[in-house]
Symmetry: C2
Subunit: 270 residues, 2 copies
């Protein structure tokens, strides 16, 4: 089963375009977990996954939040992945990229060693740096197109022959989609850009959309502009708004409520 | 002691602008090491460092080649760093970048957990994604400007108001250099671009220059165009040409000969 088949199946099963970002931050997880467990980080992820798994199509794991714990972070990352039910998409968000022979190693690490269904890739080095990821034809590579941060404009909105760079990146993504395994990352904080990018990408390329919730992206516009005509091919990510919905013993129950409510809100706008 | 002081000291001590890239690839290291040691990877790095440490100013560790071994790769990475003499610069080449709160985690991981002297950073997300690295004022962040691969042209050479993007990135690097801790990555495979970038950056910003050796960059032009007027502020990297100089028992001896010879050749052109 390739990425898009797996995505389509879980989207239908859980009736959800919601992705939860496991940006697990030791400073933000509930304090009581430190009393009952030596590895509160892992306990936290397990509880969040257990509580929310009926309401999502994907989990996005932000690699920086694991790398910061060195070797043990790597163990937590692997164990977290093992807690995610096999029919839910696992996106490893590391925004890796390098020249060809190095990109090959990153792709191997993410797709083979960690067995991700999808990854995020930075396009700055051009086609030969992205191809080693695309050689994994059953997986999906979400290429950064228009990121959700304020400084995204610094380079992504520069104009080349009347066209902003992020649109040129979107065109390249379409061009590089020979194996039907490219995706784009577009921040929900820029709905107009999202709309234009969906038009460029057409109906078949999935868009990973972070930036709703803590970052302030509008949910209605995200759904309207991000999905294709069938209301599909968008994976809408929320991290902090769900996983830190409460800081006490009720954290997983509150995360569940938030996840269900956000899933339903997304579905209302389809 | 900050990065530039440390760099200046070791450049003088070893009379060298040479950096050796530890892109250690299990498929390329001498076969006999597998017979005598369970961790040939580490034994290889140790031997290379021991043989070449008098002739370099820095070692560049290409993180992808370690991540591909998962948890044990992380251990090898840490141990490799511990073998590098304390007065030699350690550059962690991971080309990381993300939005602000995530970039902070990457910076912490690389500078605090792994204690790198310098890192490589991708600029595609703009200023707010680079600042968390620059907050480590005693360290150096080498920002990708013009990479050494053929597809670098895809985006880095696009023209914005008569100026190619890579030059705009160089200008930003100069602008972001408030703490005197920015550097640029420029491939030796593009000498004309290197010359222009050195002119934009001025005398004080170091350039990390990969691409000589296996990738074919010209050494004379690299030195002439990459250094400042005092013949400094360039860190010239070779990986495969040195570490795989021989595939038999003589590998470290040959690496030593190659390293000394390359250091001397670089010095001749200063």
């Amino acid at each position: 089963m390739n990425f898009k088949e797996k995505l389509s199946k879980i989207v239908k099963k859980n009736n959800s375009l919601l992705c939860i970002g496991l940006d697990t931050d030791i400073e933000k997880i509930p304090k009581h977990l430190f009393k009952i467990n030596k590895t509160p980080f892992l306990e936290f992820n397990k509880s969040i996954i257990e509580a929310t798994k009926e309401f999502v199509c994907a989990y996005k794991i932000n690699m920086a939040f694991y790398e910061v714990f060195g070797k043990s972070g790597f163990e937590i990352l692997e164990e977290t992945i093992s807690y995610i039910p096999k029919d839910i998409i696992v996106i490893l968000d590391g925004k890796r990229n390098d020249i060809g022979n190095t990109a090959k190693m990153y792709a191997k690490s993410l797709f083979e060693v960690l067995n991700a269904d999808a990854v995020t890739v930075n396009p700055y080095l051009g086609k030969d740096s992205v191809l080693p990821f695309l050689e994994y034809t059953n997986k999906c590579s979400f290429i950064l197109c228009r990121t959700s941060n304020p400084s995204a404009v610094d380079f992504q909105n520069l104009i080349v022959s009347n066209t902003p760079i992020y649109q040129l990146v979107a065109r390249k993504i379409k061009e590089w989609n020979n194996f039907d395994n490219c995706g784009a990352v577009v921040g929900a904080t820029y709905p107009n850009e999202l709309k234009i990018i969906r038009e460029i990408l057409g109906e078949e390329i999935p868009i990973l959309i972070p930036g709703i919730g803590a970052q302030g992206g509008d949910i209605e516009k995200t759904v309207k502009y991000g999905t294709n005509k069938s209301g599909e091919m968008a994976i809408i990510n929320s991290s902090r708004g769900i996983i830190y919905a409460a800081k006490d013993e009720s954290f997983s129950e509150k995360a569940k409520i938030e996840a269900r409510s956000l899933r339903d809100e997304i579905n209302r706008y389809k």
